[in-house]
Every structure is written in structure tokens, then in C-alpha cells.
């Protein structure tokens, strides 16, 4: 696809420039993720982000929208999601009212009445249509299709169709196509294998839990009021928890919650008592909590 027209909002010179822009909005990306976003913008391909819950997939889409200074349009997937909830729907009650009003006013021109009924104003646009309609060359909209693995596979096929040509045809109205493909971020927690055809359309990136130094940097960036000791201890403990073979290993979202809880309690460093009462912010299973408590909470931040 040719990129003759450079527009300031969505063109970055290099992955590094994009990474810096993301960092200015408090999102610390690594080389891979920055390259993925850079290529996504340049090649106008959707990004497919996979990884454990809480590694910052949804957050990335939000930050991208902030960097491009455009609204984020979010489609949360769930089982039973269908086209009427994802694409568009006709506002039946309003159509009916319109019909009644026309009848009361004595309108007899059936053809006109019919064409009025399927007017744009009676169309309720849902996230996918919204994203196509609002995306312009200068301001591409950011569309987040969150947790695609929760939707059923029929929806995947449908999404594939929309993502291949960014065009939606509405029988009563005609075809609506995006002036510029929106920036699409599709996320999956891998509870189900997503069909390869959909992945092929996208740039695939697997997000890992951040390394210690990066996690420290992220917490520090997000919670400037936390002390350096606390930040390093929380990041160290989170890293150790991830190595414990738990039912649900804490993601970066959980370590941020933990640090925030500790800051709210006025802790300047992590001691066993405060850690024990705030453990609920990082561990979401009773079995996990028991296991950590049995192993001794002190073991979590020895040398952290």
C-alpha cells in the first residue's frame, strides 16, 4: 500500500520514535512491541496481541489512542456476541413511532415513507461501524477488539470479513467503507485457539511478563509516589510469584494494583504484615494464597 501522504498523527519515523511517544503516555514498550505498533500503523494491518491476562494488552490500545489523540472504540467480546451488537442495528421503536407519526399527519406517499424509515438516523451504529465511520486519513480511529477468544468462532469469521476490506454493506442503505482503515488491536487470552485465517491478516505479537528492570520502570512511572525500595521489592516479589507455578500468576496489572494498595496504606517498604493483608491484590485464588503463606511470605522479598 503506498504511503504518499504523510500525516503527522499516525506516522512515526521509526519504532523508536513510537516507543518514545508511548512512553510519554506512561506506557513502556520493548523493541518488539514498538516495532509491532509501528508496522501496524505503517502497513495498516491489525495487531493481534496474545499473552497472559494482565500483561498490558488492553492498556496498549488505550495508550495508542492517546498517542494518536483519537477516541478509542472498544468492542468487548463475549459468548453470543452477534452482528447486531458489533456492527449496527435498526432502531425499531423509533421507526415504529415515525410510522405512527406519519400516519397521524396523513402521509400517504408509501414509497417516501419507506425510504424515510431506513434513513441513517434510524441506524444505531455499534463499535465496528463506528470505527469505520469515524476513521479519516488524518485521524484514524483506534478499534480495540478485546478478548476475541471469548466470542464464538462464527464471530471470528465475521470479523475476518470486516478486517479484510474495512467495508460494511447494509442492504437498506448501501455500502459504508472506511476512508482509512482504523488502527485495530485484537487481544486474546488464549482460552481458545483463534482461527489461523484471522491471525494471518494481522501482525502477531506474544506479550511476555516484563523483566525485572522493566517492571520496576513501569511501576515507578505509574506510581511516582512509591518509594524506590517499595517498587523494587514489589517487582521482585511479583517475579518470584510468577516462578511459583501458581494457578494464576500475577501480571503487571496485579503488581501495579499491589504497589498502589501499599502506597495507599502508607508503606515505605514491603514488610510481611502489610504484604499479608494486601496479598489479595496479586493472588486471585485461595489455593495460591495458601501456598504462598505456607511457603512463608518473607521468602518473596528476600534480596528483592
Amino acid at each position: 500500500m503506498p504511503h504518499s501522504t504523510l500525516n503527522p498523527a499516525s506516522e512515526f519515523a521509526s519504532p523508536k520514535a513510537l516507543s518514545e511517544a508511548l512512553e510519554a503516555h506512561a506506557y513502556l514498550s520493548d523493541e518488539g512491541l514498538a516495532t509491532a505498533c509501528f508496522l501496524g500503523l505503517r502497513m495498516r494491518r491489525p495487531l493481534f496481541l496474545e499473552g497472559e491476562a494482565g500483561v498490558g494488552k488492553t492498556e496498549l490500545a488505550k495508550t495508542l489512542a492517546a498517542v494518536l489523540d483519537v477516541p478509542l472504540i472498544r468492542l468487548q467480546c463475549y459468548e453470543g456476541l452477534d452482528a447486531a451488537q458489533a456492527l449496527y442495528d435498526w432502531d425499531f421503536p423509533r421507526q415504529l413511532l415515525h410510522l405512527r407519526a406519519a400516519e397521524a399527519a396523513g402521509v400517504t406517499d408509501v414509497a417516501r415513507l419507506e425510504s424515510e424509515l431506513y434513513d441513517r438516523r434510524f441506524l444505531v451504529s455499534r463499535p465496528l461501524l463506528q470505527a469505520l465511520e469515524t476513521s479519516t486519513e488524518e485521524r484514524p480511529s483506534v478499534l480495540l477488539v478485546d478478548e476475541i477468544d471469548r466470542a464464538d468462532d462464527e464471530f471470528e469469521a465475521f470479523l475476518l470479513e470486516v478486517l479484510s476490506d474495512f467495508t460494511i454493506s447494509i442492504p437498506e442503505l448501501g455500502t459504508i467503507s472506511a476512508r482509512r482503515p482504523p488502527v485495530v488491536v485484537v487481544t486474546s487470552n488464549r482460552t481458545r485457539e483463534v482461527h489461523d485465517a484471522l491471525k494471518r491478516r494481522c501482525l502477531y505479537h506474544w506479550l511476555e511478563h516484563p523483566a525485572f528492570e522493566r517492571e520496576v520502570a513501569i511501576i515507578r512511572r505509574r506510581l511516582p509516589e512509591a518509594t524506590e525500595t517499595l517498587v523494587r521489592q514489589v517487582a521482585g516479589a511479583a517475579g518470584r510469584l510468577r516462578g511459583l507455578d501458581l494457578l494464576k500468576a500475577p501480571g503487571i496489572a496485579e503488581s501495579l494494583d499491589w504497589a498502589e494498595a501499599l502506597v495507599a496504606l502508607g508503606a515505605r517498604d514491603l514488610d510481611p504484615e502489610t504484604a499479608a493483608v494486601t496479598l489479595g491484590t496479586v493472588l486471585k485464588y485461595r489455593e495460591d494464597t495458601e501456598r504462598v503463606v505456607q511457603g512463608g511470605i518473607e521468602a518473596l522479598f528476600n534480596g528483592g
Binding site: 516495532t35 508496522l39 421507526q95 415504529l96 410510522l99 400516519e103 491471525k199 494471518r200 502477531y204 507455578d245
Partner: protein, 365 residues
């Protein structure tokens, strides 16, 4: 894009394909396009351009890394996979006339209805080669080993809940004339079925038949059935069982399972299944069938713990134990005792009739 770059990248794609990464032409095109937006001479840029466009699964990443290192640094790739020596588990399928079944009837295709009836209820561990082939043939005919669940979506029905949208639309069509009410009801969708087949030594007379049963299940609902083999390690064999032809499917499966006729560490296997697949969603709302005799070499309490976990995730837990049909059988093995409190349906599974019953349990669970 210079010609030699395209050639280099195409060659790289070929290396990836050989290593099992699905580098199809569309992806290769995307990689070339991606590289053109980046710095061709920067190894990091080329690495990411390829990884983002070529990989589609976390399992692809280590393969990709190996290929990248080998292709661009000239290091020869380590031998990626050594095929385990094929274990012969497929019993010779006796062809009519050449069977070595001794005094057994040679021509199984002429078996009468009553013979089939007798065969149906006989323990598969005590069958001759010809009879076994006939059981395999009948198993392959099993065409409905699947379950359904209620979907959130609706479909038009004559009774059920009022369908407001369709009612309003029909009123609209008649220009405001209320003509009658439309109804809708929930659709049904296939429910996921997960089969875990014990292939340890004590189960060896049954493992073959049970895997054939699993093959019938995969065939009747390919998208919603998952099969694992358990012995000393857990192996996902769903993909191998997708082959339509039963004997070919069994050949690929036997090559894929590294631990035939070994010991059993069912507790650990189950834990691995739940950690890697079950809890992320595969077991949620599913019917999980465990086919095992419950001989546990590991700690039975771990098995009990994991069964409790499974019970909390799954819709129904079915245990099929081939020894259950033996007269005087009591579930006394450690593993079986630990697991039973968490089992919804405890069935046999030693004969064709028992397997048909198991299919019924799955369908009606």
C-alpha cells in the same frame, strides 16, 4: 525492495516452513512488506519484521528464534525433532480369508447379526485379531459422540419468548397493523468434550480401542472435541486424530505418543492438563471423560486435589474404567478411591456396548 533481499527472505521462509512454522505465501508477502518499512541492515528490525508476520502461536516463537539464528548467522540448526520409534499398537487388521484367527470365523464381513450382538458385549482385551478388526470397524461407524448446550443466541420458534424485533418488523411490514406475535427460543451449540485416555501399561489392552473411540468423537464434532493421552506425560493428540481414516489416524497417534505402556502419574498429568489447557478455558463448561483404571503410581492425594479442581471447572466429569464390568469389581485402587467423589458418571468402557453407552452418557450428560 532489492531482488536479493526478497530472495533472502523467501529462503528464510522456506527454512521456517521446514521447521514447522506456517510461513504461507501471504505471510511471506507481509514480511517483505514489513521489512521495507524498516531497516533491512538492522538485524533487530529484520528479526521483528519476520516474527510479527510469520508466527501465529507461542509455540512458533522458539522455532522461529532457532531458524533466525541458523539462517542469518550461518550456524547449522540443531536437529529439531527426532521421531520416536513407531510403536506398533495397531493390531493386524485381518482381511477376509487370510485371518490367522485359528478356529475363529475367518470371514468377519459375513458375521451375522447375532454374532455382532455377542461381540458387542465382549471384553475387547480377550478378542482375536479378526474380532478386534470387526470391533474397530463398528467403532468407526459410531457417528455421534458429542454433546450440545444451550447457546445465548436465539432462533425463531413457534413457542418460547416473545421476539420483539421480529414482531415489530412484521408490524412495520404491514404499515402498523398488529398481526400476531413472533416467538424465539435459545439455539443449541456443540458442547466441548475432552477425552483423556490413559495409555499406561495396565491399560494397554484397552488404549487402542479407547483411542479409536476418541477418533469417532473427534470425527463427529471436530471443532469441539479435544483428546489427550496420559501416561508418564501428557500429549495432546487432537490434531493427529483429525485424519478421517481410522487406521491412518491411529498410526500418526502412535507416533505422537512417547510413553506407551509406561507407568501412570495421573495426578500430575491432570494437573498439567488443568494448568496448560483446562483452566484457560478448555475444561470450562466441558464434559471431561477420563478413561483409566485408576492405577496411580504417584500420590493419590494429588489426584484427588486435581479432580476437585477439574470438578469446579467442568460441566460433567465422566470416568470410564474398563475393569468396572468385571464381576466383583470394587474401586479399591488408590487413585480410583481418591477420584470417585468428584466423578459425576462412573461407567465401564471395556466393550463395544459399553463404549456405546459411554457415547450416550456424553450425549445426555
Amino acid at each position: 525492495m532489492p531482488r536479493d533481499v526478497v530472495e533472502t527472505l523467501t529462503g528464510f521462509a522456506r527454512t521456517l516452513r521446514a521447521a514447522g512454522v506456517g510461513a504461507d505465501p501471504e505471510r511471506v508477502q507481509a514480511m517483505i512488506d514489513a521489512v521495507s518499512h524498516l531497516d533491512v541492515l538492522d538485524p533487530g528490525d529484520v528479526y521483528w519484521a519476520g516474527r510479527l508476520t510469520m508466527c501465529a502461536d507461542p509455540a512458533d516463537l522458539p522455532r522461529y528464534d532457532r531458524c533466525f539464528a541458523a539462517y542469518f548467522t550461518g550456524r547449522t540448526p540443531p536437529v529439531t525433532r527426532t521421531m520416536p520409534p513407531p510403536v506398533t499398537v495397531i493390531r493386524p487388521a485381518a482381511t477376509p480369508g487370510t485371518a490367522e484367527g485359528g478356529d475363529e470365523p475367518d470371514d468377519v464381513s459375513l458375521a451375522t447379526a447375532s454374532e455382532i450382538e455377542v461381540l458387542r458385549s465382549r471384553d475387547v482385551a480377550r478378542l482375536s485379531a479378526a474380532e478386534r478388526a470387526e470391533v474397530h470397524r463398528l467403532l468407526a461407524l459410531l457417528d455421534d459422540v458429542s454433546a450440545r448446550r444451550r447457546s445465548r443466541r436465539f432462533t425463531a420458534r413457534h413457542r418460547g419468548r416473545l421476539d420483539q424485533h421480529r414482531t415489530v418488523r412484521s408490524i412495520l411490514r404491514r404499515g402498523g397493523e398488529i398481526s400476531g406475535l413472533r416467538y424465539r427460543a435459545h439455539r443449541t451449540r456443540p458442547r466441548r468434550v475432552v477425552l483423556i485416555v490413559d495409555v499406561s501399561g495396565s491399560m494397554s489392552p484397552y488404549a487402542d480401542v479407547l483411542l479409536r473411540f476418541a477418533h469417532a468423537a473427534v470425527r463427529s464434532a471436530p471443532r469441539t472435541t479435544e483428546v489427550f493421552s496420559a501416561g508418564t506425560r501428557l500429549t495432546r493428540v487432537t490434531r493427529e486424530l483429525r485424519h478421517r481414516e481410522p487406521d491412518a489416524a491411529m498410526r500418526t497417534v502412535s507416533a505422537a505418543i512417547p510413553d506407551w505402556s509406561g507407568g501412570t502419574r495421573l495426578g500430575e498429568e491432570l494437573k498439567e492438563f488443568l494448568d496448560r489447557f483446562g483452566q484457560r478455558g478448555m475444561a470450562r463448561g466441558a464434559i471431561v471423560v477420563i478413561a483409566s483404571d485408576g492405577w496411580e503410581r504417584g500420590d493419590p492425594s494429588l489426584l484427588g486435589e486435581q479432580m476437585a479442581r477439574l470438578r469446579r471447572l467442568a460441566y460433567r466429569v465422566v470416568w470410564s474404567n474398563p475393569h468396572k464390568a468385571q464381576p466383583g469389581y470394587e474401586p479399591l485402587t488408590g487413585g480410583m478411591l481418591a477420584a470417585l467423589p468428584y466423578v459425576d458418571h462412573f461407567v465401564a468402557g471395556h466393550s463395544l456396548a459399553a463404549l456405546e453407552e459411554l457415547a450416550g452418557v456424553i450425549g445426555n450428560a
